[in-house]
Amino acid sequence: MIPEQKAKLCSGSTSRADTCDRLSDLPDGILHVVMSFLPARHAVQTSVLSRRWRNLWCSMPSISINEREFEVRGYCQIQERWDEFEDFITNLLSYRCNSVSLDRFQIYAHSHSQQTVDRWIRHSIEYCPTVLKIEIPCYHDDAPLSLKLPYLGSSFCRLKKLSLSHLVLDNHFAELLCSGCSALVDLELVNCFNCFQHIASTTLTRLVVNTCFNENDAVDPMVITAPSLAYLKLVIQDTIYRHGISVCNVSSLVEASIYMQYNEDFPAKYQRRLLSGLFSVTSLELTHFETMAMLNKNSDGFPIFLNMRYLSLESCFLDDECDLDSKLEDLGSFLENAPCLEKLTLQRCMFCVDPDWEWDVKRKSINLQRLDGKTFHCLKLQMIEVLYEDDHEHLLVELLWGLARRLPDPSIKLTKIFR
């Protein structure tokens, strides 16, 4: 700090009278920001603090409803508390000042009383929020989802960020995305029941589809068309995409992360197609991709990842039939498609290690054969990081040896991860 500033700090801010209320001096807007970090009940309770705070809650532009505040837990237990919670929220929404728009609306509540929850959501949507986050979990894991997103088309015009969890979404939703949400930038779908087959939005830059249940008998693949998309994350588990997912026209994609739980639910040829659609990424994370999907053998238009600088592979190349050598060759040929790659991260690749299984292999010596296969030169690749959990020395050593022979340019870093 400049000496003058230091001097000012020391001598400055003379001790004011202790009874000075700095908090209430803040303008309404700031107090609203403070209240927006408080859950709804607490925010309303600020009305008893002082006269200044009395009606602040009425015009607060951010409402965060959380049933945990009322300790509503489990269907079986506390009916009273749900009623209390319900009363409170209904009152809150009714008494709010109508003229104040809602910037952020967030709700976490079990679908205890679907009609009521639906009414709250409708009510809030009518205020044209910019950020909407709805999470309506079910009490039982296999209870069917039934709450739908209400379609008040014109009210979504200001919406920038939408996060939905445990809702049923159908074609109306897809249409809404396409035409009704003209400002939507961030979309996150978690644990939803998706009965639609396309996500199309010109404004979307961030898309997350996490563990959503896809209609089983869908005839078409799920198509994602988002020309402005910069970040894509797909977590495919507990559902089947028989015809895969494809991304179209996502040339501005910067980062993508695709996680698949089981290969069987997503056929290899569609994995490959999906991968080809991601050609413009700078950073890519793949989990559980089949080797066949990553091979260039047919060379039918498998694209070059021109911009890719960071690649992270987890649980790939795990075919038991192939030996390590051919797996490394496959890896190498895949890497050839990424001429600008700078860093590669491998986790649980090449060999399958079950932490619960005690590998009782006692080896006295490990024989590392000289590999005469093709070496791959990735000019820009500087580092390969291998993440490992357990020291199955022989497997790890073999892998390192293989990597060093096949991809001789980069340095290799071993990092142990602790679970």
Binding site: M1, I2, E4, Q5, K8, L9, G12, S13, R16, D18, C20, D21, R22, L23, S24, D25, L26, P27, G29, I30, V33, V34, M35, S36, F37, L38, H42, V44, Q45, T46, S47, V48, L49, S50, R51, R52, W53, R54, N55, C58, Y75, C76, Q77, I78, Q79, E80, D83, E86, D87, T90, N91, L92, S94, Y95, C97, N98, S113, Q115, T116, R119
Partner: protein, 328 residues
């Protein structure tokens, strides 16, 4: 200056400095890249060209006092460096807001007037964290808020500042309901003391519930609407009330203490109605003040009561038989 003199000048002196003037008149200079991190200052420099010399220092808004300013500049100085990782920034932020509440408020105010939104969010979040989980008294204590609400005002139910007549009506009805609940509570307290053990067998009870009529029985209802209507004809003070049966924590059902009108009824048909039940089928729901939220409740309570009965079939919970049936 001669060349040799130039060579002696330290590199730092060649940095551009911006001059800032606080409301109290004190002027200080700060590196340009640091100052540019603040949108408001940035705009002043770019649009108005001020700040390049001591005489043309940028006038900062009133709410920015020197102490806050130096904190803000520290913040800017740290964050404007592009190479920092997210972890580093987060950890800096956490330490940054560990100051006393008074300075935190001033800092928030200053950041707001300089339109430095990330800092406003950071400080507001810190303030919210201080407020969260504390009682009003504690909060007033920490922030020195004046306790200027009357006792009545504190206890008043949430008021409708728009004075919507529908809401006023709702308020009245809620008040009425509250009063009724209190009365029932009193009655229940009296009743609990002398409540007899219910000796009737399950079958008997089911019989009479199913519409054998008779005294002291519940009334089967044809529809839930009827139930709501009954609330308004509160001629029948309920004797048996729904009591939380959660004593064993086993089957879970805790029907709320509700009005007579919402007392759960077994969903069975009964030809036997009390005569003061009107024909309910065309009632206006809104008038009851019992919005469909009540309907939900009724549904739930109804289904739950049947569950209760099912469990108690083994008779082991005979003494816990408090079923929410209205008695005449």
């Amino acid at each position: 200056m001669s060349e040799s003199e130039l060579a002696v000048i330290k590199p730092e002196a060649l940095k551009t400095y911006i001059w800032l003037q606080c409301f109290d008149g004190s002027i200080q200079q700060v590196e340009e890249e640091v100052a540019m991190f603040c949108p408001m200052i940035c705009r002043e420099i770019v649009k108005n060209g001020t700040g390049s010399s001591k005489n043309h220092a940028i006038a900062l808004p009133e709410r920015v006092n020197p102490a806050s300013l130096s904190l803000i500049l520290d913040y800017c100085r740290f964050h404007q460096v592009p190479g920092r990782s997210n972890k580093e920034r987060k950890s800096f932020d956490e330490k940054f807001v560990r100051i006393d509440t008074e300075r935190l408020c001033e800092l928030t105010s200053a950041a707001d007037s300089l339109q430095l939104k990330p800092l406003v969010d950071l400080t507001s979040r810190a303030l919210a964290r201080i407020i969260e989980g504390k009682t009003p008294e504690e909060i007033r204590d920490i922030f020195h808020l004046p306790d200027d609400l009357t006792e009545e005002e504190k206890l008043e139910p949430l008021k409708n500042i728009n004075d919507d007549p529908r809401i006023r009506l709702l308020n009245r009805l809620y008040a009425k309901k509250r009063k009724e609940l209190q009365e029932r509570q009193k009655l229940k307290d009296v009743q609990v003391q002398d409540e007899q053990k219910d000796e009737r067998s399950l079958d008997e009870l089911l019989c009479f519930i199913n519409g054998d009529g008779g005294s002291g029985g519940g009334k089967g209802a044809k529809s839930k609407k009827k139930n709501k209507r009954r609330k308004d004809h509160a001629k029948i003070p309920p004797k048996a009330d729904s009591e939380p049966v959660n004593k064993e924590g086993a089957i879970c059902v805790v029907p709320r203490k509700v009005d007579s009108g919402n007392v759960s009824r077994l969903p069975c048909q009964s030809p036997d109605m009390q005569d003061d039940v009107e024909d309910p089928f065309e009632d206006a729901d809104l008038d009851d003040g019992l919005d469909p939220a009540m309907k939900e409740e009724l549904d739930r309570v109804q289904s739950q009561v049947s569950v209760k009965l099912a469990v108690s079939k083994d008779g082991s919970r005979g003494d816990l038989w408090t079923y929410s049936l209205e008695q005449s």
